[in-house]
């Protein structure tokens, strides 16, 4: 490639690190294939959204301050989760507003941070990716990517760009899966009841894979699918695009 390579730092997220490392690995391979120079700041832990959403704002601000410093020098920050990207882009500046230096750093990080599909389409300008992944898939809009970051097109564009993939629309794709972070354990029955409705819709599509761009939703929907013994697999967009999803 003639132009200087795009450099991106991975914000792998807590769930991505500990529960879904295969998503991160798929993302690294995918980004490298697209000519991106990838690094992983090893001091990272979590964006602090669980603290923030539960009302522990002072605590979340401490985590935000740490994260902002850790990614200070990153050219781009890529996140495999819409909700964590939303947290950084929409909430960090407000959380750090009392310290002008941190506030400026948070504003800067917000501008440099993208959820994976947005990064590929907006920053790299790529809409077609070759992948051996095949079959009928359906896509769930995670709430924070859709309503928080206003993104519904990029993931669909990328899925349609894979030649072997047939994308079928999910009825009620824009409805919550019932995860909602701590909501899923504070009100487990309500959360599961919302999930049931979502999974009935998923199964009605006849897709073999359910694709999403958020580790939280994938944990919820994937956990529901295996529990009910469904043949449908929950996969991350990165796994489809890198061809490393389940066979």
């Amino acid at each position: 490639m003639a132009a200087a390579a795009v450099r991106a730092s991975l914000m792998i997220t807590c769930l991505g690190d500990v529960l879904f490392p295969e998503v991160g690995v798929a993302m690294v391979r995918l980004l490298r294939r697209l000519g991106v120079e990838v690094d992983f700041p090893e001091g990272q832990t979590c964006c602090g959204m669980p603290l923030f959403n539960s009302g522990y704002h002072h605590d979340a601000a401490q985590v935000a301050a740490r994260t902002v410093k850790l990614f200070e020098r990153a050219e781009h920050v890529v996140v495999p989760s819409g909700s964590c990207a939303w947290m950084v882009r929409s909430e960090y500046p407000g959380l750090l507003k009392h310290d002008p230096v941190l506030r400026a750093a948070a504003d800067s990080l917000a501008r440099r941070t993208r959820e994976l599909s947005q990064f590929i389409v907006e920053v790299l300008g790529v809409t077609t990716i070759e992948s051996p992944f095949e079959g009928k898939v359906t896509y769930h809009d995670s709430c924070h990517l859709l309503r928080g970051l206003g993104e519904s097109a990029a993931p669909r564009t990328l899925l349609r760009g894979v030649s072997g993939v047939e994308l079928v629309e999910l009825p009620g794709a824009d409805e919550c899966c019932g995860f909602g972070g701590s909501f899923s354990v504070r009100l487990p029955e309500v959360s599961a009841s919302i999930l049931d409705k979502k999974l009935a819709n998923v199964e009605s599509t006849g897709a073999r894979c359910l694709v999403a761009c958020d580790a939280g939703c994938l944990m919820q929907m994937g956990g529901g699918l295996t529990r009910r013994g469904s043949a449908v697999k929950a996969v991350h967009l990165a796994q489809v695009l890198s061809g490393e999803g389940p066979a």
Binding site: G24, G55, V63
Partner: protein, 467 residues
């Protein structure tokens, strides 16, 4: 405290999930409302700008609420009406009861009003020997059933038509089929007599126009018109935040209110009331009273909950809320259900009353998307949760857990170590590569869903090979 509130919220929600009738009724009704709203706005491109305008009007009006209220009061009085100021629910009830007593009122017909629900007016009237009759069909149904509204605009949304037929057959002595048209006719006949007997008509107000002293009622059944014109006394009771400056502002709100609520361009009836009957007029009440209810509202103007005062009570946020759609309105336990109801409850009853309710949202943001005045409900719920922490209303056990979690997130070493510990602890619970039947807090997850185990090698550990 009502009986319902003796069970914790999670228990009330759990019971609602098991109620098959409720589940059926909710599914049908909320889906219908969602589709109607979507269709109505899709053919109305100017709707988005009107929503911005409506929000701006609310914002500006609240900043000078006192001025607008005084102008409203002034105009109502010039029209021959009487204005009453109620700081609390108790004062508001007292005002209405005094009017009833002084004027020998035995029966009062009511048009649908959440403000009167908020102050438990019906109970107070009954206690004082005045019979209140709800004349909105939905309200009539729940009054017969001795229940409370479960939706802001569709109070009997939790009932199927079969249940209504049973209720009418029992209470009105007859054999009525589960046919909405027949049931409506039955109610209509029963209510007709009540309208003619009533000494007082009680309404709420969707808006009150400061410039003209006009009280505006947005309804669909025509009962509102009879309530405001047949009895000799009309009492309108409204929250102070319902005042808007001018008739041109009213046009903005009317263009989006019914679309948001029921998907109608306008509701079937938009009733504009200006004072009592004037000399030479053929109809209208002899007396008109406007009760301006504060009940904790004005002290919120400068608070983080301020935006909740913009609410038009259209109910759109309830219809799209995944939690409301699963549990209905009664499980919330207070007058105002749904996501906006949590904020209004905090506003009216204090933060401690929403200790559990503040978390009855997945923060999915669907409510914010449909709100005609774009109230950022998820943000305010998060703010409210912040108050629960800072005011130490959140349970201490929860606070301890979250503070410990913060320490974990601030130390990469501790974070890494927790993955190692988790891997070790999870061993007895791994079945076919998934976690099932976990103990303690984790059981709340694994009761209904599998959990992926802590990976054999975390991403951090794999990164060494990827570099």
């Amino acid at each position: 405290m009502s009986d319902a509130l003796r069970t914790p919220f999670s228990g009330r929600a759990g019971a609602a999930l098991k109620d098959a009738f409720l589940q059926e009724a909710l599914k049908i009704a909320t889906t219908k409302f969602i589709d109607l709203r979507k269709e109505s706005f899709s053919g109305f491109p100017q709707g988005e700008a009107l929503r911005d305008r409506a929000r701006a009007i609310k914002e500006a009006t609240l900043q000078h609420l006192d001025v607008h209220l005084e102008r409203l009061a002034d105009h109502v009085e010039r029209l021959g009406g009487t204005v009453h100021w109620a700081t609390t629910a108790e004062e508001a009830r007292g005002i209405v009861l005094r009017l009833c007593r002084d004027r020998g009122v035995r029966t009062a017909v009511k048009s649908k009003s959440m403000a009167t629900e908020e102050i438990d007016l019906n109970e107070a009237l009954e206690h004082a020997g005045v019979t209140p009759i709800e004349t909105d069909l939905g309200e009539y149904i729940i009054q017969l059933a001795h229940e409370k509204p479960s939706h802001i605009i569709a109070p009997a949304i939790h009932k199927t038509k079969g249940q209504v037929a049973e209720l009418f057959s029992r209470e009105l002595r007859g054999e009525f089929p589960a046919d909405p048209e027949v049931l409506t006719a039955v109610a209509r006949k029963a209510l007709r007599e009540k309208f003619l007997q009533a000494d007082m008509g009680i309404t709420g107000a969707n808006f009150a126009v400061a410039d003209t002293g006009t009280v505006v009622l947005v309804t669909n059944e025509g009962n509102g018109r009879m309530v405001t014109s047949l009895p000799r006394i009309h009492v309108a009771l409204m929250g102070v935040e319902k005042v808007i400056p001018s008739m041109s502002d009213l046009v903005v709100f009317l263009a989006i209110l019914a679309r948001s609520a029921t998907g109608q361009k306008l509701s079937s009836y938009t009733t504009l009331v200006r004072g009592p009957r004037r000399a030479g007029e053929l109809e209208g009440p002899e007396e008109f009273h406007l009760v301006l209810l504060d009940n904790g509202r004005s002290r919120q103007i400068a608070s983080t909950l301020r935006e909740a005062l913009y609410c038009l009570r259209c109910g759109a946020c309830l219809n799209v809320c995944p939690v409301y759609r699963q549990i209905g309105g009664h499980a919330y336990g207070y007058t105002y259900p749904g996501p906006i109801g949590i904020l209004l409850t905090a506003m009216l009853k204090g933060n401690a009353s929403v200790r559990e309710l503040a978390h009855a949202s997945s923060l999915c943001g669907a409510c914010k998307d449909v709100c005609p005045v774009r109230i950022d409900i998820p943000r305010m719920l998060v703010e409210l949760r912040g108050h629960l922490d800072r005011e130490k209303i959140a349970p201490w056990t929860e606070r301890v857990v979250f503070k410990a979690f913060r320490r974990l997130l601030l130390s990469p070493t501790a974070f890494r170590l927790s993955a190692t510990v988790g891997r070790w602890l999870q061993r007895p619970f791994v079945r076919q590569g998934r976690l099932r039947g976990l103990p303690l807090l984790f059981g709340r997850w694994t009761r209904t869903r599998d959990l992926p185990p802590v990976a054999a090698r975390t991403f951090r550990e794999q990164w060494k090979d990827l570099r």
